[in-house]
């Protein structure tokens, strides 16, 4: 039986192939000596200690572990860390700056786009991939882009509103809810 510890400390096991990987993660260059079977999600969380990336189902279904690899969303539980060698990875920690939330994060806050928050990092990175390509998405396009990310709390309504809010903000429009603050009841629509 192997353990994640053993996976992350390959030197502990004799005669195991290890590979050096160099990954630019959230703008910072990091290196690690790893076993090829280490999953990217595990390197990010347990190796690099960036625990904003969540592992939900661990079976390529839920999208909680979504990160951007060279700008495209991938399920980090379904990519070997060694495959990210020489590539650029963005996790949820890479969205905000030291002083300011990313508009997508602001949107999730403003529109109550999360309840338990477990799916949120994945949702936000899928949303970022969408908005990087299309700053003016329709509601349908938002739903389509997020269809690989499961949320068991919200019923998705407020997540979709959050992404539309962020799109408006990033376009420089005043987000609809800023203009009319009257309707502020959480979970008003289902």
């Amino acid at each position: 039986m192997t353990s994640l510890f053993e996976e992350l400390q390959p030197a502990a096991a004799a005669e195991v192939q290890t590979t050096r990987v160099d990954i630019k993660i959230n703008g910072e260059y990091k290196a690690a000596q790893i076993e090829p079977r280490l999953l990217l999600a595990h390197l990010i969380r347990n190796g690099f200690r960036l625990t904003g990336t969540h592992t939900g189902c661990d079976t390529t279904n839920c999208g909680a572990c979504t990160v951007l690899m060279d700008g495209a969303p991938v399920k980090s539980c379904t990519v070997f860390a060694v495959q990210a060698n020489g590539h650029e990875v963005t996790t949820v920690e890479g969205l905000a700056t030291a002083s300011e939330l990313h508009p997508i994060q602001e949107g999730f806050k403003d529109e109550h786009g999360l309840q338990c928050g477990f799916c949120t990092p994945g949702m936000m990175l899928s949303a970022k991939a969408l908005l990087d390509e299309n700053l003016n998405p329709t509601e349908d396009e938002v739903r389509w882009a997020l269809s690989g990310n499961l949320c068991r709390c919200t019923g998705y309504q407020n997540i979709v509103k959050a992404v539309l809010w962020a799109a408006a903000k990033m376009r420089g429009d005043v987000p609809a809810d800023e203009a009319a603050t009257a309707d502020d009841s959480p979970g008003g629509e289902a």
Binding site: T2, L4, E7, V16, Q17, T19, E35, P36, R37, L38, L39, H42, D58, T59, T60, N61, G63, T66, A72, P73, V74, K75, C77, T78, V79, F80, V82, Q83, S126, W144, A145, L146, S147, G148, N149
Partner: protein, 290 residues
């Protein structure tokens, strides 16, 4: 979950990759990995060596060639096809299926050729290729060979690919006239296995069907080539009688099992409904063009 230990190689040429496969009994090619990695994590697959082909250059293409064929390289991702205008222009069936493969995140990694090679009875692309009469180009130490997808898939999760061969390309043959068709898939939610899905390809000339193909997904132990149903369309002008007959034969060709997604009868009913609906959609869009 994580897989059993394996050795990892990432060659930068096809020849190198083929040599690695030839020299190792228990090797597996890693392309998009969106089926292979989950299977390895569940330990359904425990290859001793993974040959990662992602570092081999110039395999991510898809293009319409001057000879009328359409070619898709081994590293062309589902998302590349989903966004492709050239695919929409030349291959309406593939364009209809592209957004329905798995979910958007899986589509950024998973590959067209890898999906055909995985030979899951639930695979969308193998059924499309069967309907289109498409082939896979397999390259081994002694060169390349083309295998029609209907013969390439030999059973559930099984193909005729030799141990030291790599599927380097999918090829869709030239249309006999104007190519049209469509893909419909019933799934309970995005990314779930299909209850049933149907691929219909039609090559039309002067209002008459010159060539047709129908592939069925999720209604048998492997991808089903409903060739008799397709034959009922060839030579017709897609009149009600021919379409009804094709729908009926497609349902007969399916061999579904009842499960939590529906009874066998229900799935057969979906197959016939989808055949009728795809053809009706094709006729409706032709009328809008005319």
């Amino acid at each position: 979950m994580f897989p059993s230990r394996f050795r990892y190689e990432a060659p930068t040429s096809i020849e190198e990759a083929i040599a690695l496969l030839g020299a190792n009994e228990d090797a597996k090619v890693l392309a998009g990995g969106q089926s292979l990695i989950p299977m390895m994590k569940l330990r359904f697959a425990n290859p001793a060596l993974l040959v990662d082909i992602n570092n081999i250059p110039d395999m991510g293409y898809h293009r319409a060639d001057a000879d009328g064929s359409f070619r898709i390289g081994a590293l062309c991702r589902h998302a590349d096809l989903e966004k492709s205008t050239i695919l929409r222009e030349h291959q309406p069936l593939l364009a209809a299926a592209a957004p329905l493969v798995a979910d958007p995140i899986v589509r950024t990694r998973g590959t067209f050729v890898g999906s055909v090679c995985h030979a899951d009875p639930q695979g969308d692309w193998a059924a499309c290729m069967v309907a289109l009469g498409g082939s896979v180009i397999a390259q081994g130490p002694n060169g390349k060979r083309a295998v029609e997808v209907k013969d390439f898939v030999s059973g559930p999760f099984t193909t005729v690919l030799a141990r030291d061969e790599i599927a380097i390309e999918g090829v869709v043959p030239k249309a006999q006239g104007t190519r049209t068709g469509g893909y419909l898939k019933l799934e309970r939610r995005v990314g779930d296995f299909a209850t049933a899905a149907v691929a219909v390809s039609l090559d039309m000339s002067g209002g008459v069907v010159k060539n047709a193909g129908i592939g069925l997904v999720g209604v048998g132990s492997q991808t089903i080539n409903a060739s008799e149903a397709a034959a009922a369309l060839i030579g017709s002008s897609l009149d009600d009688e021919a379409v009804d007959r094709a729908a009926e034969l497609a349902a007969e060709a399916s061999n579904p099992r009842g499960d939590h997604r529906g009874s066998a009868d229900y799935k057969r009913h979906i197959v016939s409904t989808f055949v009728t609906r795809i053809i009706a959609n094709v006729q409706r869009s032709e009328m809008q063009v005319a």
